[in-house]
């Protein structure tokens, strides 16, 4: 019974479309929800909740209000915990998408927001990760350093916080820039 299980949207949510927000207790819940909803065909964006709803290291999902019920059912079926839904996305902020690189000769450093990854060009081995301040960053450092880009899971699949999400963006860019290096489990 696939009638209501998948969205086949052709256009992204427009500015005139009224948006609402799924709120989560943890960033990794938001990342899990993003994965599940995108697989189901929803167009969405990861945003900071409005100031009045923030607790700290927050991430929420904005999508058209009209799609709330269906999306909520998809998340429930997938076992993703949602703290709340608010039918008002005013005051949200986009996650920074600024990515820059520094060429150190044998090594390439990619910065994404406050996070950095450094890769040996010849081998694709991650030699350093840095930046950030959330507790998953030292954990990701231990998990990633010394391994090739194509043999590690994506940082956002291992991490739990916004710092982990930004490191994932740096990782994706490093994969894109180094020939032959495919991102891990995409």
């Amino acid at each position: 019974m696939a009638l209501f299980s998948r969205k086949d949207r052709k256009t992204a949510p427009g500015a005139d479309e009224a948006l609402g927000l799924f709120l989560f207790d943890a960033v990794n819940d938001a990342l899990a929800a993003e994965k599940v909803l995108k697989a189901a065909g929803y167009e969405l964006s990861l945003v900071a909740p409005p100031e009045r709803l923030r607790a700290g290291c927050d991430l929420s999902i904005a999508l058209p209000r009209v799609e709330h019920i269906g999306a909520e059912r998809v998340l429930s079926d997938a076992g993703v915990h949602v703290r709340d839904w608010v039918a008002d996305a005013e005051g949200t902020a986009e996650v920074c998408d600024l990515v820059t690189t520094v060429d150190f000769g044998e090594w390439l450093m990619v910065r994404a927001g406050n996070m950095k990854i450094v890769v040996e060009k010849a081998t694709g081995v991650i030699v350093n990760t840095s930046g950030g301040g959330c507790p998953d960053i030292p954990y990701l450092n231990l998990a990633l350093v010394g391994k090739r880009l194509d043999e590690v899971p994506r940082p956002k699949d291992l991490g739990y916080t916004l710092c982990g999400l930004m490191l994932d963006r740096a990782y994706q860019e490093a994969c894109a820039q180094l020939d032959g290096a495919e991102g891990g489990a995409a």
Binding site: A55, C96, F104, E106, G113, V127, C134, P135
Partner: protein
């Protein structure tokens, strides 16, 4: 003259550890005799602080940490034990480091510290800094140590995490740490002293630049995970030894840079290499930098 560092270490369900910090001959950091993994983050910060204490002959840093890989569990355990530990240790400096940036926990902690340790100087780096700023408590801190990707966050009163900082604030075109330091101070997003880590390190006192440190220039240090943490550890330890805060920050910048030069930093080296280089760097230079030779 004791530095207390409250933080986390990257082990799933790792227990609360509390005690003095030691460096084993291999470079491994131990807290109360229990080893913690060597990586960027708090182990780098503690290693640098411990080297300063050894050099100056001051008490070793004392750490209160718990295992946390980003789920916030260890962070909560640490906050639960914080006030008891402070009452027992009576630290002169309390540094918040890699922790889940939960505003409510930080508010409760700072309120409690005002009761039990009103004279302790507060330092914040990493997630501790994110929480302090997001909770509107930054001005209660003596020292914060942002990098160029974080000072824009401190200067933007609307955001609660550096991941949401607008493009123009980051260390790219139009980036101006002098303006950002002033703005962070005016909007209550900064500690009394900011040590802004970058190609040029800027030290701001109440929003005004007091010192700029740009020599030796070792660009590779930016690529090495944990070299910002070692700066935070150095500055915290100098502060605990009684250095005035701006001097503590300046000596930290100089020591970190000189260690990078001496070790011949490459992007593939690690913070533990820098920590291992510090004893010689401090012995050779600290007196001439105007810090104390011994305490």
């Amino acid at each position: 003259m004791t530095l207390l560092v409250i933080a986390t270490y990257p082990v799933v369900d790792g227990p609360v550890l509390e005690g003095p910090v030691t460096i084993e001959p291999s470079g491994t950091i131990a807290i109360g005799g229990t080893r913690v993994p060597s990586s960027q983050g708090t182990s780098a910060m503690l290693g640098a602080a411990a080297q300063v204490a050894t050099h100056l002959g001051t008490p070793p840093p004392h750490a209160l940490v718990a295992g946390d890989i980003g789920r916030g569990d260890g962070t909560r355990h640490v906050y639960e034990r914080l006030l008891d530990t402070v009452e027992r240790i009576r630290p002169s400096v309390i540094a918040f480091h890699y922790m889940q940036p939960v505003m409510a926990l930080m508010r409760k902690a700072v309120e409690g510290l005002a009761e039990v340790a009103p004279d302790a100087l507060l330092v914040a780096d990493a997630g501790g800094m994110y929480a302090a700023k997001a909770a509107g408590l930054a001005s209660r801190f003596e020292l914060m140590t942002p990098d160029v990707g974080e000072v824009g966050f401190l200067a933007d009163p609307k955001v609660t995490h550096p991941a949401y900082v607008s493009h123009y604030l980051f260390g790219n075109e139009g980036f101006d740490p002098v303006k950002l330091a002033a703005s962070a101070h005016e909007t209550g997003g900064a500690g009394r002293v900011l040590l802004i880590k970058g190609v040029r390190d800027h030290i701001a006192l109440e929003g005004e630049i007091a010192e700029v440190v740009d020599e030796p220039c070792v660009p590779e240090l930016e690529a090495i995970g944990g070299t910002g943490d070692t700066v935070a550890g150095l500055a915290s330890a100098f502060l605990a030894a009684g250095f005035p805060t701006v001097d503590a920050a300046r000596c930290a910048c100089l020591a970190n840079r000189e260690a990078g030069r001496v070790m011949g930093a490459t992007p593939a080296m690690h913070a533990s290499d820098l920590v291992a280089t510090l004893p010689g760097v401090l012995a050779d230079n600290l007196c001439s930098w105007g810090g104390a030779c011994v305490v």
